[in-house]
């Protein structure tokens, strides 16, 4: 064997390492896809976090001649819970809302989204009414202002009327205990 050839041939260790490169790349790909699987594609970051809650002036469900606006809640930390009688997931979430309302920790404003007021009133009569007040957004215009794309959705609004947290989908006991209640206490404190 000529010396020039001996130099060209890489040492054994280097050859083995080279074959590991595709495997390593594959492992990285699997890791990324694996992380992707654990994330909920329905859960989108809201651009409204840390922005003032969009103003609205909507008729209340109990008394359509009365109007409620977010300004009415100034000075309070409150939840805006988007619900509808046609929304199956709202039914799942509802007992937790009732329980939270009973605890009196934080007032919940109901946002009745694209619903028939009569059906909505029946729904509350059947399952209990946890809301200090419910407003009706029949055509969904205000819902769009809030970036609502699937009920239930819940916004946590601070004393200055700024949205601090948003939950898309039903609030679970875990989310309530680990995210919402600590934040409520912090904002109230």
């Amino acid at each position: 064997m000529t010396p020039s050839r001996a130099v060209r041939r890489p040492p054994r260790g280097a050859v083995a390492w080279k074959f590991l490169v595709p495997l390593a790349l594959f492992a990285v790909l699997v890791a990324f896809l694996g992380i992707g699987l654990t994330r909920d594609p329905k859960n989108l970051p809201s651009p409204l976090i840390d922005k003032p809650a969009p103003a609205f002036s909507l008729a209340t469900l109990a008394a359509p001649e009365r109007v409620m606006t977010p300004a009415d809640m100034r000075g309070k930390v409150w939840l805006l819970n988007v619900w509808a009688s046609w929304c199956a997931a709202c039914r799942i979430e509802h007992p937790l809302m009732v329980e939270l309302a009973k605890s009196g920790v934080v007032p919940i404003v109901g946002f009745n989204f694209k619903d028939d007021p009569q059906a909505a009133r029946r729904w509350l009569g059947e399952l209990g009414d946890p809301y200090v007040v419910s407003v009706t957004d029949r055509d969904g215009r205000v819902g769009i202002e809030y970036g609502v794309y699937g009920a239930p959705e819940t916004f946590l609004v601070d004393r200055d009327g700024v949205i601090r947290f948003k939950q898309v989908g039903p609030i679970t006991p875990e989310v309530l205990r680990d995210r919402i209640l600590p934040l409520v206490r912090q904002l109230q404190g």
Partner: protein
């Protein structure tokens, strides 16, 4: 009484009419469709607003139509949408710090692949050149040279008629 009934009926018909897409203006509809094709339906995430018949998609298309009627342009409408639904609503995400990798990634990979390919080709060319050089020069030792001569002689002997050898 009858007049009131007819009037209310007519009113409800008129209201129903505003809710349906205004097909009478094809230019406006084409613009709505073009913008809706670049916006994502939030409910059915792999469809554009233009393709979707979800309730929210229809509402948002009506919103786009209304904004166009009000004289707002495409950029304003997209800003309006992202202010409410985030960048996710855009099929073409904007270039900024968080999306830089997304935009540049494929080109970086392409460039890296090109560099790797160029180096591999050059290395191979150098390797072949040295092998050719090795064959051409006096690197053959005496034993190899003798074998080559013998083999060449054999072939030559087999290929040529015997009369010529003598």
């Amino acid at each position: 009484m009858a007049v009131a009934l007819v009037t209310s009926l007519w009113m409800s018909l008129a209201l129903a009419d505003t809710a349906t897409p205004a097909a009478e203006d094809p230019v406006l509809e084409a613009r709505v469709a073009a913008i809706a094709a670049e916006l994502r339906c939030l409910v059915c995430q792999n469809q554009s607003l233009a393709d979707s018949h979800a309730d929210l998609a229809i509402d948002l298309k009506n919103q786009v139509r209304q904004m166009l009627r009000d004289g707002r342009d495409e950029a304003e409408i997209k800003d309006w949408m992202t202010a409410r639904y985030g960048d996710f609503v855009l099929y073409k995400p904007p270039v900024r710090r968080t999306t830089w990798l997304l935009w540049a990634g494929p080109f970086v990979l392409l460039a890296a692949g090109g560099v790797w390919l160029a180096r591999a080709v050059r290395r191979r060319r150098v390797l072949l050149a040295t092998q050719d050089a090795g064959r051409g020069d006096a690197a053959l030792d005496a034993v190899d040279a003798a074998r080559v001569a013998a083999l060449l002689g054999e072939t030559a002997g087999a290929a040529t008629p015997p009369s010529d050898v003598r």
